[in-house]
């Protein structure tokens, strides 16, 4: 395994995951809310 150290900081990770995760979570919640109508 390489001893290569990346320059990625925790802040970078939070920003990167947030950029993807927050819109994704919003989309999933919206979709699930709409999908519930299928079972009414």
């Amino acid at each position: 395994m390489s001893s290569y150290q990346s320059g990625t900081t925790t802040l970078h990770l939070i920003l990167a995951w947030g950029l993807v995760g927050i819109p994704l979570a919003w989309g999933v919640i919206e979709t699930l809310t709409n999908a519930l109508k299928l079972f009414h």
Partner: protein
């Protein structure tokens, strides 16, 4: 317009921050398998050699047939569930079904790609095909007995495998052809997706239309399509079974790999 702007922003951010890992990099704690596996090469195949191998075209058909089956129902999901269960499923509920399918499409990408690390790519595709054949064959039964739950369950699993097929194929290609040209090989393989984008909806729409014009009730008009999809998956299964390790004559030589940027 709005979606275009959103795609543009995300694409630009992605292209600006993505980096190729240094040669030999591995995640912390990663332990390479001790035993070499027959269908995972440690060699590299040039993109122009890859397209000359039977493996490329077998995997092309594997992806095309799997996606044809999935994309056909994905595009018709809303009218299909409303027609099969006329009077029971409203357009709003059908939209909910489509939304649920999109979640399983997404979740299937994580689930099946992760499963393929455990099962192996070839076995994972075999599962897609065998399970798919069973589920497509069950759909007409779900319609005839009026089981909305069984109908939904069948399509959610089918669509999870549609997503899983996309997510697993880059790793399948990497196992077959190595990492050096896997991006370009994957790009070429995606022509299978383009072809499936024509075959799938055309099959579902035209066969349904033909059935309706010949007096088949709308609720049963998709039955023949489902059996045809199951038949396509049988062919896909056979293509997948035929995939063997790439012959070493296609492998890049040490000097070629170095010249192409490999250490």
């Amino acid at each position: 317009m709005s979606l275009g702007v959103i795609y543009f922003v995300f694409m630009m951010i992605g292209s600006a921050i993505v980096r190729i890992p240094q040669e030999g990099w591995a995640p912390a704690g990663y332990v390479a398998p001790l035993q070499a596996r027959k269908l995972i090469t440690d060699q590299h195949v040039h993109v122009y050699q890859a397209v000359r191998t039977p493996q490329f075209w077998l995997i092309w058909w594997v992806l095309c047939l799997n996606v044809t089956a999935g994309i056909g129902v994905l595009g018709q999901a809303s009218p299909m569930i409303q027609e099969v269960f006329t009077g029971h499923i409203t357009p709003v509920a059908a939209a909910g079904f489509v939304g649920l399918m999109s979640l399983f499409n997404m979740g299937g990408r994580f689930f099946w790609a992760s499963m393929s690390d455990l099962l192996g790519r070839k076995t994972t595709y075999a599962v897609f095909f065998l399970l798919g054949i069973g589920l497509y064959s069950l759909v007409p039964l779900a319609g005839s007995i009026g089981s909305v739950a069984l109908f939904i369950l069948c399509f959610l699993v089918i669509i999870s495998m549609y997503g899983g097929s996309f997510a697993t194929v880059p790793a399948y290609l990497k196992d077959m052809f190595g990492t050096q040209y896997v991006g370009a090989i994957h790009g070429m393989l995606l022509t299978a997706w383009a072809a499936a984008g024509i075959f799938g909806p055309v099959l579902v729409n035209y066969i349904r239309q033909y059935q309706v014009e010949h007096g088949v009730p709308k609720a049963e008009a998709y039955n023949a399509t489902m059996y045809i999809m199951a038949g396509l998956l049988v062919i896909g299964f056979l293509c997948n079974i035929a995939v063997k390790a790439v012959d070493q004559r296609y492998h890049m030589k040490q000097g070629e790999a170095g010249a192409a940027g490999l250490a």
